[in-house]
């Protein structure tokens, strides 16, 4: 009996946490389709921020355009809703002007890797302390299901109606190669793990990327016969392998699977700190 009550109160507390962070007077529900993975990522992010104890005023959320990029509109933080693909560039300006702020970029696969691909690799290279949450649903959701740079080869989208002939990006590999100092991948099925990955990313000093494999059942799922939101989430469960487990698997056993967990971490000096060093050194000379 006691356990039941305890569980109930924990659950209540959890949902309260999320509600505490909604923008007052913002009309709900969200514009997202019922079952869209964006909501799961939003609550994981809120819990991570809450756990880290950041005050609302020290967090700035920046996004471009896409279903995903609407997230900051619902949340009670300072927010900048910017042009398609450029959120990281705007965020760089915020971070550089106010280095004490926790700057979080919410972005989609199209926003981050197509039109914004250049900003993405340069933010990684600079290793500026921004956390990018990339919700990868393998398609442009907002504009109605066109192929994105993460649409897998062979997949159907409205601009690849006979199967995508291009090869898709692996955003995590791209980030690591470009110089990001923290890279992790999660899915909308594995919510506690996702919350942890986001917490780590926020806590990391340097550019951090969390790629979240998510479901756009409305377009990607429907066009590729992946069923509803639940069956897409189950597929994420089946096809993902943790970094720890992957060590024990052969390349054949890893075929068709993807890794989740922390994929890269290093302690290269963060950009604003590195910049400050130069300032200090030269101011010292005077």
């Amino acid at each position: 009996m006691a356990t039941v009550e305890k569980t109930k109160s924990v659950e209540k507390q959890k949902s309260d946490v999320v509600l505490n962070y909604f923008r007052p007077r913002k009309k709900l529900p969200t514009v997202w389709c019922a079952g869209c993975g964006n909501g799961i990522v939003m609550s994981a992010l809120i819990r991570a921020i809450d756990k880290l104890g950041y005050s609302k005023d020290e967090v700035a959320m920046v996004s471009g355009i896409g279903c995903t990029s609407r997230m900051p509109i619902y949340l009670d933080f300072s927010a900048l809703h910017t042009t398609h693909g450029r959120a990281l560039a705007f965020a760089t300006g915020i971070k550089f002007a106010k280095p004490h702020m926790k700057v979080i970029v919410i972005t989609g696969d199209g926003d981050c890797l197509a039109i914004g691909g250049n900003h993405f690799i340069h933010a990684c290279r600079r290793n500026i302390d921004i956390t990018a949450i990339l919700i990868n649903n393998h398609i442009y959701g907002m504009t109605g299901g066109q192929g994105s740079p993460t649409t897998p080869s062979g997949s159907i989208s409205t601009t690849t109606p006979y199967g995508n002939v291009e090869k898709n990006f692996d955003p995590c590999k791209l980030a690591e190669a470009a110089g990001a100092s923290f890279v992790a991948r999660g899915t909308v099925y594995h919510t506690p793990q996702l919350e942890k990955a986001i917490t780590k990313a926020l806590d990391h000093n340097g550019f951090s990327l969390v790629e979240v494999i998510s479901n756009c059942h409305t377009y990607y799922g429907r066009l590729n016969r992946r069923g509803d939101a639940v069956s897409m989430l189950n597929a994420f469960k089946e096809n993902s392998v943790t970094t720890a487990k992957a060590k024990k698997l052969s390349p054949e056993e890893m075929e068709g699977k993807f890794l989740i967990g922390t994929l890269h971490e290093d302690d290269r000096t963060e950009f604003c700190d590195e910049y400050q060093k130069v300032v200090d050194a030269h101011m010292g000379e005077k």
């Binding site: 355009i65 809703h81 042009t83 398609h84 693909g85 890797l113 197509a114 039109i115 691909g117 442009y140 907002m142 504009t143 109605g144 066109q146 192929g147 740079p149 409205t158 601009t159 690849t160 109606p161 006979y162 291009e166």
Partner: protein, 384 residues
């Protein structure tokens, strides 16, 4: 053959009938259904063209610059933010004398974000060296895109065909679709005199010294100066071939008009219906529908201007600090022609707000009662 289709489908039909060879586009509301349809018919083989799916509008136009330089016929479509992102290359296409044709589905420019219609996106590109056409029906879109290829290829000046987001892009009408052989006869394959060709190697658009640059610009200007002649001739031949004609300025109910309203795009159709009704109740009101911004068809306006009529432009765009772009352009053109005529300026319909029949009647009342500001902006439907 008659078919019911949306404004955006009319574009895809025209592009197919024009036998475009390379298409590149990036999705953006309300243009998206054009690129979707074109990628589908290129993929299925219904159209013998390559569709290049790119990572941004800038890349789309860059792809077309490459393709068009090899002498093939090229097309793209976009809206608002996408058009703005292309701007660097809009200058390039025109300066490089590439006859690219583009459809812009008019949508207001952010910030704040909006997906709804106004014409600020395209009118603000007027200095980039593109011809600009504005359509009010789906049939006109189809016909104008076909004509645009002929005009662009004749003048070596790129062409932008514009229609209003949602009001036209997403509404359906009955269209007369011409037969492929009719279009083939009207629009033969592109013959590029200058192109990338290994048999006759050339280099394009290289660094230019002050001793030469102005002559490049002069030649673009010269092409614009003969553009109206080419446009008129093309539409005349189009009429002979297809039985439908268009003029740079279309005049409706202008006989003895005491009030003349100038409008473009979907707003012009609301003006048309209002004016028709007002004529029935005996008011002497007329419409001049502007089909072009570049070149600005001032002769067309002068032809229909009855002396003494109150002249007003309804602009669905805003250039902050001056006002409506069609108004400013018309005032300058009248002055250049030595005509001293008052042009009243009405700005409305920004960001998708309706320009209603009631708005138009009020404009007419204000002109008739002389309560309209003769010099400044008269705002239509503004909540203050």
């Amino acid at each position: 053959m008659n078919r019911v289709m949306s404004g955006n489908e009319a574009v895809s039909q025209a592009v197919k009938l024009s036998r475009v060879q390379v298409i590149s586009a990036y999705p953006i509301t309300p243009q998206t259904s054009i690129s979707e349809k074109l990628s589908e018919i290129c993929g299925s083989g219904e159209m013998d063209a390559k569709f290049v799916k790119v990572e941004s509008e800038h890349s789309a136009m860059a792809t077309l610059i490459g393709a068009s330089s090899t002498g093939v016929r090229t097309f793209t479509a976009t809206s608002s933010q996408g058009l703005a992102l292309m701007q660097e290359l809009l200058f390039w296409v025109s300066g490089a004398r590439l006859p690219v044709v583009m459809v812009n589905v008019n949508r207001a420019m952010a910030a704040p974000w909006t997906i709804w219609c106004d014409q600020t996106d395209s009118v603000s590109q007027r200095d980039t060296g593109w011809l600009q056409f504005y359509c009010w029906s789906n049939q006109e879109i189809l016909d104008s895109v076909i004509c645009a290829f002929r005009i662009a290829e004749e003048l070596l000046i790129p062409c932008m065909v514009c229609h209003d987001g949602f009001f036209i892009s997403h509404t359906h009408e009955v269209l007369d679709i011409p037969e492929q052989n009719q279009v083939d006869a009207f629009l033969p394959p592109r013959k590029a005199e200058y192109k990338l060709d290994t048999a006759n190697p050339r280099t394009f658009s290289g660094g230019t010294m002050p001793s030469m640059f102005m002559e490049f610009r002069y030649k673009v200007q010269a092409a614009f100066e003969r553009a109206q002649g080419v446009i008129d001739q093309t539409y005349e031949q189009f009429e002979q071939a297809f039985g439908r004609g268009y003029h740079a300025v279309e005049a409706y109910y202008t006989d003895g008009a005491e009030i003349l309203l100038i409008a473009s795009g979907s707003a012009a159709s609301t003006v048309y219906h209002t004016v028709r009704q007002m004529r029935e109740s005996g008011r002497k009101v007329g419409l001049l529908r502007m089909r072009q911004l570049r070149p600005l068809p001032v002769e067309g306006v002068l032809k229909h201007l009855t002396d003494g009529a109150a002249l007003a432009v309804i602009d669905r765009n805003l250039s902050p600090g001056t006002g409506g772009v069609f108004t400013q352009e018309l005032r300058a053109a009248l002055h250049r022609n030595g005509v001293d005529y008052r042009v009243h300026e009405f700005v409305g319909g920004l960001g998708g707000r309706d320009i209603t029949a009631a708005d138009i009647e009020k404009i007419c009342d204000d002109l008739e009662n002389k309560t309209a500001d003769p010099a400044g902006i008269n705002w239509v439907g503004l909540n203050r």
